[in-house]
Amino acid sequence: MPELKQLRDPVSRRKFLAVGGGSTALAAFLAACGDNGGTTATTSTMGSSGGASETAQFGKGDVGILNYALTLEYLETAFYAEVVKSGLFKGAELETIRKFGREEAEHVEALTAAVTQLGGKPAPEPKAEFPLKSAKSVLELAGTVENLGAAAYLGQAPNIQSPEVLASALAIHSVEGRHAATLNTLLGESITPDGAFAKPADVKTVLKSVEPFLVG
């Protein structure tokens, strides 16, 4: 799955990221929102006239953003549930996977409630299937999904209108970051694939990446 690999390729993102030197750090910081370098993997939603209309297919304004997040959380929950069932993991790793699955399920609950509270219709649970060939390939997929999920939240944060919705989104976003770093650690990979400043992902990129797992 070349698109997924590209998302995890730090090289294309590292143009602006360098250790030390105020100006390069600033460039990286500003690139986090401005994406001046035109990296292939992600594009910032900053400044584009798209804004919240990126998620229009999921609903208007904050409802659309929440439903977009809800869709991703449904997928993550389903993924972890399948992984637990697969019997590929034992002991501490299994416990971690179980725990993360429970947390994603809590995210589903919270986002559903938030949409309802805003008077919107919660997005339906998508039907999904995930390849579960080996423990290693599953961990890799989990890592990709979590890193992508974190980037998705980061991409939408500036588009959220309500401070309360933003507060909730941030409370979830950082947890996805924790998940991502944990999976990266289990895989022996860097906990910060983007370096000192995480990069956002736009809706198009995210949906394209999860599309292969959707059934029907």
Partner: protein
Amino acid sequence: MNRQQLKAPELEAVEVDVEGGDFSRSEVILKGALAAGAIYGTAVVSPFVRKALAMSESGDVGILNFALTLEYLEAKFYEEAKSRAKAKGELKSLVNLLASDEQQHVEALTATVKQLGGKPVAEPKFDFEYSDTAGFVKLAQTFEDTGVSAYNGAGPMIKSKEVLAAAGGIVQVEARHAAAIRLQNEEEPAPAAFDTPLTEAQVLNAVEPFIV
């Protein structure tokens, strides 16, 4: 800010008068500090917090300077840890990575404050007490978790979309740090489904013991 009004116990009754600039952030800080006082019944707002509030600028520059204070703390903590913490193997690599990340955060926040026409807060003097590697990792966990909650608390008050996007890019990295340190501590990397926000006053009170 009118000091006399800090004595008012009921949040509703508090009128915040800030010279120039906007009111919303200072008001929220004040409410946070007073909420702490109301709950615990005493003057919980410490001298350091009072000073920080008095010096705080309104708006995004103030928030960035608040974040900068925390990043200074973390950067110094990890820089010192390179020689003090006696970390080995994986933990040693992690310390190096964290030191580098936090230093980059310091530089970026400093540059952004300047770019916005503000004055970057000065680096405080710190005193980190720990006597062994285990003590270091425990303290690191506290700092990273607190950092996440601090950014999450401040986020909704940020006015500029660009500053919010950039702060989001930093908090995600702090959360990644937190998870990695917790794993070193043999603690759960993501203990809860939601990382609760903290108010600026709560955060400043939490880090005050480490500032000389």
